[in-house]
């Protein structure tokens, strides 16, 4: 169908001609007859669909052209968020990220091309964004946001987007935004779920940054600077004063993520950012942003894919956004011990665990536990002993389905009732006193160690129950055999990652 495309070409070239003719006529016209407006001729045409949108219009478009946004993290969220903001006509964007593009990133991090694997994410994203919109001033900072540099980076921007995948960085960004008085549009995504809200708010000073360039006097007057007029939203720390324990921090690398899910969240994040940037130009306080509310998205949530909850108010005594935090201008951040704060919940969990393990016969139940290397496992797999070898894979099911050891079976790390019932050969070998071997394997050797210990403890508990029943004369069975004489329980140090490094380089890299 060549006709439509040639027609389009003709139309576009004739409209370019018309623009040029307009410019000539414009220059020739006396000032009293020249058109005036908030946008240049080229911008008014390029953003015509924003201009004609009744709830948006040329003034908001002009505000976008003046706006400066900091995007921290150019991954699954930062890619679509930056692409929509820049294509929408954002004036200036600073991209901050210390990572390089990896092959496993690009199923969702759509700002990066295959050819960018190995390049810095900020360089790759900047190239994509500049190609989309040459008028946007794209700046890059190839560094991780840290307490030492966060305040300087955040200052000078009208809005910050948190697109990171790290808990500590999330607190650092929020603290810096609370201290510098810059609104923070924070999104997160993992698995099939996402979260989005707007933390903090613009201080009079930082709003002035946008307002200073505004020619419209009434615009400045309409800025919601009076705290009584508008509720001050909380910061990340107000809502989550206790950081999650490390084991509760799901990451895209560890738990997986459905490609479009961060896409959905990043696009919503860009939309919220535009609302925050242009809010002062709206009637009656502007469009309502997500400040004070947390939006939650679950792609597999059935009937309720989107829900939201009302968040708490700002904490008056918050270390970051309370009076003390903001009055110091964030100076406290440079001496604050972020690592101790982040590890606080872990320490709590560890103490509890130790206390719980006291006196429950750790040495006894752990006697038949051993750790082996992938090379040793290879020997076991290739040297049949006839005693029964049961390889139990506790990685997430998807990883097992993608690639697993021959004969290995999949069992959830969290639930593995009656392991032996599914393997009569192993059970019989145990009854025949052949001492079969159960090998737990996972991705990196952490979950497998946990699972092996859990299993060893379970069968030891079973043994003590039987033994106590016997001693109380409540059973006709003989003295139960010690678990250590019945079965060897092994787990593989370094897991399948080390298997790939030491034994089989063709095993796919999955984490």
């Amino acid at each position: 169908m060549p006709a439509p495309s040639s027609k389009r070409r003709r139309t576009s070239s004739s409209s370019a001609d018309a623009d040029a003719a307009d410019a000539d006529a414009d220059a020739a016209l006396p000032p009293a007859a020249r058109w005036t407006g908030a946008l240049s001729s080229a911008d008014a045409s390029r953003y015509a669909r924003h201009v004609s949108l009744p709830s948006f219009g040329a003034l908001k478009q002009a505000a976008l052209h003046r706006a400066r946004v900091l995007i921290v993290g150019l991954g699954g969220l930062g890619s679509p968020a930056s692409m929509y903001l820049v294509s929408s006509g954002l004036g200036s964007v600073t991209l901050a990220d210390a990572d390089v593009v990896e092959l496993s990133n690009i199923h969702r991090q759509i700002a990066h091309r295959e050819s960018a694997v190995g390049l810095a994410k900020v360089a790759s994203a900047a190239a994509t964004l500049r190609a989309m919109n040459s008028r946007c001033d794209v700046r890059t900072v190839e560094a991780r946001l840290a307490p030492a540099n966060a305040l300087d980076l955040v200052r000078g921007h009208d809005v910050v987007l948190d697109c990171t995948d790290d808990v500590k960085t999330r607190y650092v960004i929020s603290d810096a935004c609370a201290s510098a008085g810059v609104p923070l549009v924070a999104a997160a995504a993992v698995g099939t779920e996402g979260q989005l809200t707007v933390y903090c708010r613009a201080s009079a000073k930082s709003v002035g940054g946008v307002a200073a360039n505004t020619s419209e006097k009434e615009t400045v007057a309409a800025l919601p600077l009076d705290e009584e007029e508008e509720e001050v939203p909380p910061c990340y720390r107000c809502v989550f004063p206790t950081p999650p324990a490390t084991r509760d921090c799901a990451s895209c690398a560890g738990s997986g993520v459905l490609g479009p899910v961060p896409g959905v969240m990043g696009v919503l994040q860009a939309t919220e950012c535009i609302k925050v940037l242009t809010k002062h130009l709206g009637r009656g306080g502007g469009e309502r942003t997500l400040a004070g509310r947390l939006l939650m998205y679950d792609a597999f949530g059935g009937g309720s894919m989107f829900t939201h909850v009302k968040l708490r108010k700002r904490r008056a005594d918050c270390v970051a956004c309370g009076a003390d935090g903001t009055s110091s201008g964030g100076a406290w951040m440079k001496t604050y011990d972020y690592d101790a704060f982040i590890n606080g919940n872990n320490a709590c969990a560890a103490v509890k665990k130790e206390a719980g393990e006291e006196g429950d016969g750790r040495e006894l139940y752990a006697r038949n536990l051993e750790r082996i290397t992938p090379t040793e496992l290879r020997e076991m797999l290739t040297t049949p002993t006839g005693r029964g070898l049961d390889v139990v894979d506790v990685r997430p099911r998807g990883l097992y389905d993608a690639a697993a050891l021959p004969g290995a079976r999949h069992v959830s790390e969290y639930v593995f009732p009656n392991l032996w019932c599914e393997r009569p050969d192993v059970m019989n070998a145990a009854w025949d006193r052949k001492k079969p071997t159960i090998v737990f394997v996972c991705s990196r050797g952490i979950a497998s160690k946990r699972a092996a210990e859990k299993y060893a403890r379970e069968i030891y508990d079973e043994y003590t129950t039987l033994r106590d029943e016997r001693r109380k004369g409540r059973t006709v069975y003989g003295e139960p055999e010690l678990p250590e004489n019945m079965v060897r329980i092994l787990d593989v140090v370094g897991g399948m990652e080390r298997w790939r490094a030491d034994v089989d380089p063709t095993f796919p890299k999955l984490v």
Binding site: G73, G75, G76, L77, G78, D162, C163, T164, D165, D166, V167, R170, A187, A188, A189, V190, G191, E193, G194, Q195, V239, F240, T242, P243, P244, A245, R247, D248, C249, A250, S251, C252, S255, V257, P262, L294, M296, D298, G301, T307, H308, V309, K310, L311, R312, N345, C348, A349, K352, Y414, V415
Partner: protein, 84 residues
């Protein structure tokens, strides 16, 4: 025995073995968020550390401290997600 509906999100859903929601019956004289937290941890030990961090929203609103609950109240356990 007021019946409370509990919704699990993100990590909370993981440690409950993939449960999106369930119901809990609380005794009439102990029908508040503290009692519910204890009941949840007793049933799902993995929730212990999660609950220290998560937003505990009662009828779609953030709750802090002990809040009394009544029949058909809906409580959402919302841990922060940090992936991106």
């Amino acid at each position: 025995m007021p019946r409370i509906k509990v919704l699990y999100f993100a990590r909370a859903r993981e440690v409950t073995g993939g449960l999106a929601d369930e119901t809990h019956d609380l005794p009439d004289d102990e029908c508040h968020t503290d009692a519910l937290r204890l009941a949840l941890v007793a049933k799902h030990p993995g929730l212990e550390s999660v609950l220290r961090t998560a937003v505990f929203a009662v009828n779609q609103e953030y709750s802090d401290g002990r809040v009394s609950l009544s029949e058909r109240d809906e409580v959402a356990v919302i841990p922060p997600i940090s992936g991106g």
